[in-house]
Symmetry: C2
Subunit: 112 residues, 2 copies
DNA sequence: GCCCCCTGTCAGAGAATACTGACAGTCTGG
DNA sequence: CCAGACTGTCAGTATTCTCTGACAGGGGGC
Protein backbone atom coordinates (compact mmCIF):
# COMPACT_ATOMS: atom_id res chain seq x y z
CA UNK A 1 0.00 0.00 0.00
CA UNK A 2 3.03 2.25 0.21
CA UNK A 3 2.78 3.16 -3.44
CA UNK A 4 5.02 6.02 -4.38
CA UNK A 5 2.23 8.02 -5.97
CA UNK A 6 -1.29 7.83 -4.63
CA UNK A 7 -4.07 8.46 -7.11
CA UNK A 8 -5.78 11.80 -6.94
CA UNK A 9 -8.80 10.22 -5.36
CA UNK A 10 -6.77 8.44 -2.71
CA UNK A 11 -4.86 11.59 -1.94
CA UNK A 12 -8.08 13.56 -1.66
CA UNK A 13 -9.61 10.91 0.56
CA UNK A 14 -6.66 10.99 2.94
CA UNK A 15 -6.61 14.76 3.06
CA UNK A 16 -10.34 14.97 3.62
CA UNK A 17 -10.10 12.34 6.31
CA UNK A 18 -7.40 14.21 8.18
CA UNK A 19 -8.83 17.68 7.73
CA UNK A 20 -10.77 17.63 10.97
CA UNK A 21 -9.66 18.40 14.50
CA UNK A 22 -11.54 15.43 15.84
CA UNK A 23 -9.96 13.03 13.44
CA UNK A 24 -6.49 14.42 14.03
CA UNK A 25 -7.04 13.88 17.71
CA UNK A 26 -8.20 10.36 17.07
CA UNK A 27 -5.08 9.58 15.08
CA UNK A 28 -2.93 11.05 17.81
CA UNK A 29 -4.72 8.98 20.42
CA UNK A 30 -4.28 5.80 18.43
CA UNK A 31 -0.61 6.59 17.98
CA UNK A 32 -0.28 5.75 21.65
CA UNK A 33 -1.78 2.36 21.16
CA UNK A 34 -4.87 0.56 19.96
CA UNK A 35 -8.22 1.21 21.49
CA UNK A 36 -11.87 0.49 20.91
CA UNK A 37 -14.82 2.73 20.27
CA UNK A 38 -16.33 3.06 23.71
CA UNK A 39 -13.01 3.49 25.42
CA UNK A 40 -11.85 6.08 22.94
CA UNK A 41 -15.12 7.94 23.27
CA UNK A 42 -14.56 8.22 26.99
CA UNK A 43 -10.96 9.22 26.59
CA UNK A 44 -11.63 11.88 24.00
CA UNK A 45 -14.90 12.83 25.62
CA UNK A 46 -17.00 12.63 22.61
CA UNK A 47 -20.31 11.22 21.66
CA UNK A 48 -19.90 7.58 20.73
CA UNK A 49 -21.94 7.62 17.50
CA UNK A 50 -20.01 10.71 16.50
CA UNK A 51 -16.69 9.03 17.16
CA UNK A 52 -17.98 6.02 15.34
CA UNK A 53 -18.62 8.13 12.26
CA UNK A 54 -15.19 9.70 12.36
CA UNK A 55 -13.55 6.33 12.74
CA UNK A 56 -15.39 5.11 9.70
CA UNK A 57 -14.08 7.99 7.66
CA UNK A 58 -10.56 7.30 8.79
CA UNK A 59 -11.04 3.66 8.01
CA UNK A 60 -12.42 4.44 4.56
CA UNK A 61 -9.28 6.44 3.88
CA UNK A 62 -7.24 3.49 5.13
CA UNK A 63 -5.64 5.49 7.89
CA UNK A 64 -6.89 3.23 10.63
CA UNK A 65 -7.86 -0.40 10.66
CA UNK A 66 -10.73 -1.76 12.69
CA UNK A 67 -10.98 -5.37 13.76
CA UNK A 68 -13.97 -6.81 15.48
CA UNK A 69 -12.55 -9.33 17.88
CA UNK A 70 -14.79 -11.78 19.59
CA UNK A 71 -13.11 -12.91 22.78
CA UNK A 72 -13.27 -16.56 23.83
CA UNK A 73 -15.96 -15.62 26.33
CA UNK A 74 -18.14 -14.39 23.46
CA UNK A 75 -18.01 -10.68 24.14
CA UNK A 76 -16.85 -8.68 21.18
CA UNK A 77 -14.82 -5.54 20.99
CA UNK A 78 -13.82 -3.62 17.90
CA UNK A 79 -10.19 -2.69 18.09
CA UNK A 80 -8.78 0.14 16.09
CA UNK A 81 -5.15 0.38 15.07
CA UNK A 82 -3.36 3.03 13.15
CA UNK A 83 -2.43 2.00 9.65
CA UNK A 84 1.15 2.83 8.82
CA UNK A 85 1.07 5.75 6.44
CA UNK A 86 3.47 8.38 5.22
CA UNK A 87 2.30 11.05 2.88
CA UNK A 88 4.56 13.72 1.53
CA UNK A 89 2.76 16.82 0.43
CA UNK A 90 4.48 19.07 -2.05
CA UNK A 91 3.43 20.88 -5.19
CA UNK A 92 5.13 18.07 -7.06
CA UNK A 93 3.25 15.19 -5.51
CA UNK A 94 -0.02 17.06 -5.88
CA UNK A 95 0.62 17.92 -9.52
CA UNK A 96 1.34 14.27 -10.14
CA UNK A 97 -1.83 13.05 -8.48
CA UNK A 98 -4.29 15.58 -9.82
CA UNK A 99 -4.57 14.24 -13.39
CA UNK A 100 -5.96 11.03 -11.97
CA UNK A 101 -8.75 12.78 -10.12
CA UNK A 102 -12.13 11.53 -11.23
CA UNK A 103 -14.68 14.23 -11.80
CA UNK A 104 -18.28 13.42 -10.84
CA UNK A 105 -19.89 14.41 -14.10
CA UNK A 106 -16.98 13.38 -16.27
CA UNK A 107 -17.29 10.71 -18.92
CA UNK A 108 -15.23 11.19 -22.02
CA UNK A 109 -17.01 13.92 -23.93
CA UNK A 110 -15.64 16.41 -21.44
CA UNK A 111 -14.00 18.88 -23.80
CA UNK A 112 -16.08 18.05 -26.82
CA UNK B 1 8.59 29.19 7.34
CA UNK B 2 9.94 25.68 6.97
CA UNK B 3 9.55 24.93 10.64
CA UNK B 4 10.08 21.32 11.48
CA UNK B 5 6.81 20.97 13.36
CA UNK B 6 3.78 22.98 12.36
CA UNK B 7 1.30 23.78 15.11
CA UNK B 8 -1.87 21.78 15.18
CA UNK B 9 -3.79 24.73 13.85
CA UNK B 10 -1.43 25.29 10.98
CA UNK B 11 -1.47 21.64 10.11
CA UNK B 12 -5.24 21.59 10.20
CA UNK B 13 -5.42 24.71 8.07
CA UNK B 14 -3.19 23.22 5.41
CA UNK B 15 -5.08 19.96 5.39
CA UNK B 16 -8.42 21.69 5.20
CA UNK B 17 -7.14 23.90 2.42
CA UNK B 18 -5.96 20.96 0.34
CA UNK B 19 -8.91 18.69 1.04
CA UNK B 20 -10.87 19.79 -1.99
CA UNK B 21 -10.65 18.65 -5.59
CA UNK B 22 -10.90 22.20 -6.83
CA UNK B 23 -8.08 23.40 -4.68
CA UNK B 24 -5.88 20.45 -5.55
CA UNK B 25 -6.44 21.29 -9.18
CA UNK B 26 -5.57 24.90 -8.53
CA UNK B 27 -2.32 23.94 -6.87
CA UNK B 28 -1.49 21.64 -9.75
CA UNK B 29 -2.22 24.40 -12.25
CA UNK B 30 -0.04 26.87 -10.39
CA UNK B 31 2.75 24.32 -10.26
CA UNK B 32 3.11 24.94 -13.98
CA UNK B 33 3.59 28.63 -13.44
CA UNK B 34 1.98 31.70 -11.99
CA UNK B 35 -1.38 32.88 -13.17
CA UNK B 36 -4.09 35.34 -12.26
CA UNK B 37 -7.69 34.90 -11.29
CA UNK B 38 -9.49 35.45 -14.56
CA UNK B 39 -7.02 33.45 -16.57
CA UNK B 40 -7.10 30.59 -14.12
CA UNK B 41 -10.88 30.64 -14.10
CA UNK B 42 -10.90 30.19 -17.85
CA UNK B 43 -8.28 27.49 -17.75
CA UNK B 44 -9.96 25.48 -15.03
CA UNK B 45 -13.39 26.35 -16.31
CA UNK B 46 -14.79 27.52 -13.11
CA UNK B 47 -16.84 30.39 -11.91
CA UNK B 48 -14.56 33.28 -11.11
CA UNK B 49 -16.01 34.21 -7.70
CA UNK B 50 -15.81 30.57 -6.81
CA UNK B 51 -12.19 30.34 -7.82
CA UNK B 52 -11.59 33.54 -5.98
CA UNK B 53 -12.90 32.00 -2.80
CA UNK B 54 -10.78 28.91 -3.19
CA UNK B 55 -7.69 30.99 -3.84
CA UNK B 56 -8.35 32.91 -0.65
CA UNK B 57 -8.48 29.71 1.33
CA UNK B 58 -5.23 28.55 -0.17
CA UNK B 59 -3.72 31.91 0.56
CA UNK B 60 -4.97 31.86 4.14
CA UNK B 61 -3.22 28.53 4.59
CA UNK B 62 -0.10 30.05 3.06
CA UNK B 63 -0.01 27.59 0.22
CA UNK B 64 -0.21 30.23 -2.46
CA UNK B 65 0.81 33.84 -2.50
CA UNK B 66 -1.17 36.53 -4.27
CA UNK B 67 0.36 39.79 -5.38
CA UNK B 68 -1.62 42.59 -6.88
CA UNK B 69 0.70 44.05 -9.46
CA UNK B 70 -0.05 47.32 -11.09
CA UNK B 71 1.69 47.38 -14.42
CA UNK B 72 3.44 50.55 -15.61
CA UNK B 73 0.47 51.16 -17.90
CA UNK B 74 -1.80 51.31 -14.88
CA UNK B 75 -3.76 48.11 -15.36
CA UNK B 76 -3.57 45.79 -12.40
CA UNK B 77 -3.53 42.04 -12.26
CA UNK B 78 -3.35 39.83 -9.22
CA UNK B 79 -0.75 37.17 -9.72
CA UNK B 80 -0.78 33.97 -7.78
CA UNK B 81 2.29 31.90 -7.11
CA UNK B 82 2.67 28.65 -5.30
CA UNK B 83 4.33 29.00 -1.94
CA UNK B 84 7.04 26.43 -1.42
CA UNK B 85 5.73 23.89 1.02
CA UNK B 86 6.58 20.40 2.09
CA UNK B 87 4.47 18.61 4.59
CA UNK B 88 5.18 15.13 5.80
CA UNK B 89 2.18 13.36 7.15
CA UNK B 90 2.75 10.47 9.50
CA UNK B 91 1.23 9.35 12.77
CA UNK B 92 4.29 10.85 14.41
CA UNK B 93 4.00 14.33 12.96
CA UNK B 94 0.29 14.36 13.70
CA UNK B 95 0.75 13.20 17.26
CA UNK B 96 3.28 15.95 17.74
CA UNK B 97 1.03 18.66 16.35
CA UNK B 98 -2.23 17.68 18.00
CA UNK B 99 -1.43 18.87 21.55
CA UNK B 100 -1.14 22.39 20.19
CA UNK B 101 -4.59 22.35 18.67
CA UNK B 102 -6.74 25.10 20.08
CA UNK B 103 -10.21 24.03 20.98
CA UNK B 104 -12.98 26.59 20.43
CA UNK B 105 -14.46 26.45 23.93
CA UNK B 106 -11.15 25.77 25.65
CA UNK B 107 -9.66 28.13 28.21
CA UNK B 108 -7.59 26.49 30.92
CA UNK B 109 -10.08 24.73 33.13
CA UNK B 110 -10.42 22.03 30.50
CA UNK B 111 -9.83 18.91 32.55
CA UNK B 112 -10.65 20.38 35.89
C1' DG C 1 -34.50 -11.47 36.16
C1' DC C 2 -31.61 -7.21 36.25
C1' DC C 3 -27.57 -4.43 35.42
C1' DC C 4 -23.49 -3.45 32.97
C1' DC C 5 -20.47 -3.37 29.01
C1' DC C 6 -20.06 -3.55 24.24
C1' DT C 7 -21.48 -2.72 18.87
C1' DG C 8 -24.21 -0.86 15.19
C1' DT C 9 -27.79 2.18 13.06
C1' DC C 10 -31.21 5.97 12.52
C1' DA C 11 -33.84 10.29 11.89
C1' DG C 12 -33.65 14.88 12.39
C1' DA C 13 -31.79 19.30 13.82
C1' DG C 14 -28.16 22.49 13.18
C1' DA C 15 -24.13 24.51 11.21
C1' DA C 16 -20.81 25.18 7.85
C1' DT C 17 -19.55 25.13 2.76
C1' DA C 18 -19.91 25.51 -1.88
C1' DC C 19 -21.70 27.78 -5.57
C1' DT C 20 -24.15 31.21 -8.60
C1' DG C 21 -25.51 35.51 -10.90
C1' DA C 22 -25.21 40.27 -10.48
C1' DC C 23 -23.19 44.56 -9.43
C1' DA C 24 -19.51 48.24 -8.51
C1' DG C 25 -15.23 49.94 -9.61
C1' DT C 26 -10.62 50.82 -12.33
C1' DC C 27 -7.89 51.03 -16.24
C1' DT C 28 -6.94 50.59 -21.59
C1' DG C 29 -7.63 51.43 -26.33
C1' DG C 30 -10.37 52.53 -30.35
C1' DC D 1 -18.11 57.47 -25.26
C1' DC D 2 -18.12 52.66 -25.50
C1' DA D 3 -16.27 47.97 -25.32
C1' DG D 4 -13.19 45.05 -23.22
C1' DA D 5 -9.93 43.54 -19.74
C1' DC D 6 -9.41 43.13 -14.86
C1' DT D 7 -10.49 42.88 -9.40
C1' DG D 8 -13.42 42.67 -5.53
C1' DT D 9 -17.84 41.86 -3.00
C1' DC D 10 -22.73 40.40 -2.06
C1' DA D 11 -27.07 38.00 -1.09
C1' DG D 12 -29.20 33.98 -1.52
C1' DT D 13 -29.61 29.20 -2.39
C1' DA D 14 -28.24 24.48 -2.55
C1' DT D 15 -25.85 20.99 -0.69
C1' DT D 16 -23.12 18.65 2.34
C1' DC D 17 -21.27 17.66 6.86
C1' DT D 18 -21.59 17.42 11.94
C1' DC D 19 -23.66 16.15 15.87
C1' DT D 20 -27.20 14.35 19.10
C1' DG D 21 -30.43 11.32 21.51
C1' DA D 22 -32.66 7.08 21.06
C1' DC D 23 -33.16 2.46 19.88
C1' DA D 24 -32.05 -2.63 18.89
C1' DG D 25 -29.19 -6.13 19.80
C1' DG D 26 -25.36 -9.48 21.96
C1' DG D 27 -23.09 -11.21 25.87
C1' DG D 28 -21.42 -11.65 31.07
C1' DG D 29 -22.12 -11.94 35.84
C1' DC D 30 -24.75 -11.67 39.82
Amino acid sequence: MSRETPTGDELLAMLAALASPHRLRIVAALAEGRSYVSELARRLRMNRPLLYMHLQKLEAAELVVGTLETAPDGSSVKWFDLAPFALTLTAQTIATAVPTLTVPGQKDEEKQ
